[in-house]
């Protein structure tokens, strides 16, 4: 029971999003980052709890088992977050803070280099259609993220990562291969 209630609480927490919309310009940066930390940890806790039921997969020589475990976890998350939508995690104040963190990496020659690295054998220009709570297509490459840019973004719980699909910054759950949320045109 406790587990069910905590799941509901976590899902509700993740559904808090939109309330921050009108505060976008007034929330201090530190508060926005603390809120991001809370939201992303809530997601990770939900994911870990959902995975607990299935048992976390360890190394195996059977690719079928890897695929099955990933699919099962993704299905549970998708079900638990059935109402998830963009900006559940990257709320407007958080998005604004992220854009200011990305900005120094996007100016002048450095900016050209940043874009070059991100697009170098990453998803093709224009990317591909994707949605919150949808899978990252396996046939698509996972473009690199410049190390210094990565260092300037807030840390993430285990197996969550920042990636780019064309100009868009996505939060990817590497274990479930799901797109958790995204910031459109983050490096445009």
């Amino acid at each position: 029971m406790t587990s069910k209630y905590s799941l509901v609480a976590l899902v509700m927490l993740l559904a808090l999003p939109g309330c921050a919309t009108r505060e976008a310009r007034t929330v201090p940066d530190g508060v926005a980052l603390a809120d991001f930390d809370r939201r992303i940890k809530a997601y990770a806790a939900l994911r870990d709890e959902l995975e607990g039921g299935a048992g976390r997969l360890t190394e195996t020589a059977e690719p079928d088992e890897i695929a099955a475990a990933e699919r099962a976890l993704a299905a549970r998350i998708q079900e638990a977050r059935a109402t998830a939508r963009r900006a559940d995690i990257f709320t407007p104040p958080i998005e604004r803070r992220f854009r200011s963190l990305l900005n120094p990496h996007l100016r002048g020659v450095r900016g050209q280099n940043t874009r070059g690295i991100i697009r170098d054998e990453g998803p093709n220009a224009g990317g591909f259609p994707f949605t919150v709570n949808g899978s990252y297509p396996k046939q698509q490459p996972l473009g690199s993220v410049p190390p210094d840019l990565l260092a300037s973004l807030p840390p993430l719980p285990e197996d969550l990562e920042y990636r780019f699909i064309d100009k868009h910054l996505i939060l990817r759950d590497a274990r479930a291969n799901l797109i958790v949320d995204f910031i459109p045109n983050a490096i445009s």
Binding site: T58, P63, N113, D120, E121, L142, S144, P147, P155
Partner: protein, 306 residues
């Protein structure tokens, strides 16, 4: 059509049948008579007790070139029995269904796997991160890891797609705590490259100071679909070896000041032998021709690659 149960077949026959069968299963591989691929001439010193391994890059196409290189490598193993293979990323191109692990890895390298050769993989930009769970890649469920096959030899496998502060902290700790004579790093994106992707300057700015500070000796990378040997940079030797299944002919910019040797006319693999303070390397094409070879002496004495 149902694919054949490959694991139950005798190794060379299995590969032959598998390749033929894959023509139907995967729809793009031509049969190759693996058993007839002659072993290339191997000129490494082959000293008793030396550490021996191979390096492959950008392997996972499941195409005929991958199978051809794999067959030549297996033939080379009969003359130069290496213990393990480093994979420098792009282990599975395109789809990553369970059967892709077979057609793009387990089948082409079956003779080596059956012979007990271990593969140690690193992730490329075409690799799903859950490859870390695939036991035959020996990644210990981690994106970056280290292993020490001999007391004098330590490897660091890095995820150059995602060089997070956490990974850098781990690397610094691992390098500073290593007492091995040889420290060798391998990962996907080259820090120095005369190819179409070019040098990854931002990655270089991040990694090179650590490599220099903690005396990394050699770095193996892929991503560029050819072979390139770089002039020692701050005492470190860099090799790009990304042509084990894909090839970009004529892609090397030989005018780059760091360029020493290269091969972009065919597919290739690398053989490496380490004996005390010497690292010997030999690069062999899919046709069995040696396209580069030399020796590196560990930094204690002045470095020299011939």
């Amino acid at each position: 059509m149902r694919c054949l149960p490959l694991r139950r077949l005798h190794a060379p026959l299995a590969v032959l049948v598998a390749v033929a069968a894959l023509g139907s299963c995967a729809g793009r591989v031509d049969p190759i008579e693996v058993a007839t691929v002659p072993a290339p001439e191997v000129t490494l010193p082959m000293r008793p007790g030396s550490a021996r391994f191979a390096v492959l890059g950008d392997t996972g196409t499941g195409g005929s070139a991958q199978y051809r290189v794999a067959a030549r490598l297996a033939a080379a193993h009969s003359r130069f029995p290496f213990e393990f293979v480093l994979l420098v990323g792009d282990n599975l191109y395109g789809s990553e269904r369970p059967r892709d692990y077979e057609t793009k890895f387990a089948v082409p390298y079956k003779p080596l796997l059956d012979a007990g050769v271990k593969f140690y993989a690193s992730l490329g930009n075409h690799d799903d991160t859950n490859q870390i769970l695939y036991k035959p890649f020996n990644m210990d469920g981690k994106r970056f890891y280290t292993f020490r096959p001999r007391a004098n030899l330590r490897f660091f496998a890095l995820d150059s797609n995602y060089m997070s502060p956490e990974q850098l902290e781990w690397l610094e700790k691992g390098l500073s705590g290593s007492t091995s004579d040889w420290k060798i790093a391998f990962f996907h994106h080259p820090l120095y490259s005369g190819g179409r992707h070019g040098s990854d300057i931002r990655l270089r700015q991040t990694l090179e100071p650590l490599f220099v500070k903690h005396a990394v000796d050699v770095v193996f990378c892929g991503h560029e679909h050819y072979y390139e040997r770089i002039a020692p940079q701050k005492g470190i030797y860099y090799f790009t070896t990304g042509g084990a299944a894909k090839l970009r002919q004529g892609d090397i910019d030989r005018s780059a000041d760091f360029h020493v040797a290269g091969f972009d006319d065919g597919y290739h693999f690398m053989l490496v032998e380490i004996d005390r303070d010497e690292l010997h390397f030999q690069v062999i094409s899919d046709e069995g021709r040696t396209v580069d070879a030399g020796m590196i002496r560990r930094r204690a004495t002045p470095a020299a690659a011939s």
